[in-house]
Amino acid sequence: MRDDTIRRREFEENAMAYVDSLYNMALRLVFNKEEAEDLVQETYLKAYRFFNTFQKGTNIKAWLFKILRNTFINKYRKTVSTPSESFFEDIESVQASVPYEEETKSGESVDTLEKKYNDLGSLVDDEVKNALDSLPVEYREAILLSDVEELSYKDISEITNVPIGTVKSRLNRGRGLLQKSLLAYAKDRGFIKREK
């Protein structure tokens, strides 16, 4: 019984700090507050049950995200098939570096970047969220884990069960797409303002 109390305390001290982080990710996965809450709760329950398999000294936040992700897949994408995903990865890695080189080669002028920067300032949260939510889920989760949670490529690769190279290409492509759609929102706003 005393062991249980220690275990419980240890779990709460280490894991409960990430409720907000997990909830945030859950919300960007299921787009629904109640379901996100359920998902987070289930994640914690599962993590608690499997707490003895957690290797002390490793990143508990990454571990929790992995459980969240697995729970999400079990719940919502039962029919997900791995072969099609690996096919998808192949295509992805071939094109991974394209958006970047395009950008550098075209040698974006000082003006556009300056303007881009100013435009972004006008975006509201909903627009940023919409831009994020419109990304394919693989890109979205990679960006959230990297930009918001600031996890390392290695942790992200462990969480999402793909090689580090794939994490990189997802981030590259995802960020390219995200920037594009953010700028599109920004442009729309500017346009509307000017018309008024």
């Binding site: 409720v19 960007r28 709760q41 914690y44 608690y48 499997f50 992995k66 972004l120 940023v128 590259n172």
Partner: protein, 275 residues
């Protein structure tokens, strides 16, 4: 360094994922090149925008309470199991699985597979039951692969892992992996046909395979499709869209499960046994 070269590693640079010397080279360029510096600022701004937008959302306060309540009810089940455990311990040395088998059983009640214990009690000698068990374990292990560690990413460790976790004798008879493109992803203890087995996961180009064993299986493999590859006989079963390949070696029945097609999984099984 040119802008193009810097651009290739731009995200890694911004994410601070380059090694130190490489990082300094790129940084030197970015600091001195107006275009790249602007781009760096832009990248940082987008990241900051996403971050600030996301962290504004916080979980509702009642969620924390709900979670803690959930943990309470999970705790309430523990003492019941504790009682059982002490009985087990006096009977037989089942220490190895005492807490874990409870954890597995509990997760199964709530989540997917359901019924490993059923099979530990009611398993038949029929080999289709092995396939049934193996597929269930496979699904749990792949989706619930909660073992999150480093040691498992090294291919050579399979023998050590098999030996340490389950039975030191097994390491002598366990297969060697010679397929280099395969990485070991982790493993968890499971029950296969009433005996305890490790369930070791492999990753082959994104496809997950799991290897489980039945020690001292005794009964020959029956009711399964037979296939020959080289000198070795394999048996193939199919459940719920997963293929399982079984083979025997030194009295141990190995069972490899995956959603790969029959040919590929057979080929993989063959690489596992060829030394």
């Amino acid at each position: 360094m040119t802008c193009n070269e810097a651009g290739k590693h731009f995200h890694e640079f911004v994410d601070k994922e380059l090694n130190r010397s490489h990082y300094l080279i790129v940084k030197n360029h970015v600091d001195n090149c107006d275009d790249c510096h602007r781009r760096y600022k832009f990248e940082m701004d987008v990241r900051a925008l996403v971050k600030t937008c996301c962290i504004k959302t916080t979980a509702p306060s009642y969620l924390r309470e709900k979670i803690l309540k959930g943990l309470n009810s999970a705790d309430m089940n523990v003492p019941v199991n504790d009682g059982k455990e002490t009985i087990y311990q006096t009977k037989a040395p089942r220490m190895l699985f005492s807490s874990r088998s409870y954890a597995i059983a509990a997760s199964i009640l709530i989540t997917i597979a359901g019924g490993i214990f059923y099979y530990t009690n009611y398993h038949q000698a029929d080999s289709t039951a092995i396939v049934d068990d193996a597929v269930k374990n496979h699904v749990v292990a792949v989706n619930d692969n909660l073992v999150f560690n480093e040691k498992t990413s090294v291919v050579d460790n399979i023998n050590k892992y098999l030996g340490n976790t389950i039975n030191s004798q097994l390491s002598n008879s366990s297969p060697f992996l010679n397929a280099e493109q395969v990485s070991m992803k982790g493993g968890m203890p499971v029950k296969l046909c009433g005996t305890s087995s490790p369930c070791i996961l492999f990753d082959k180009g994104g496809n997950k395979l799991s290897l489980q064993v039945v020690r001292k299986s005794g009964s020959p493999i029956t009711n399964l499709e037979r296939a020959r590859m080289g000198h070795k006989e394999f048996y193939i079963g199919n459940r719920r869209g997963f293929n399982s390949v079984l083979w025997e070696e030194d009295g141990v029945t190995y069972c490899l499960t995956s959603d790969l097609n029959k040919n590929e999984i057979l080929k993989f099984a063959a690489t596992l046994i060829s030394r």
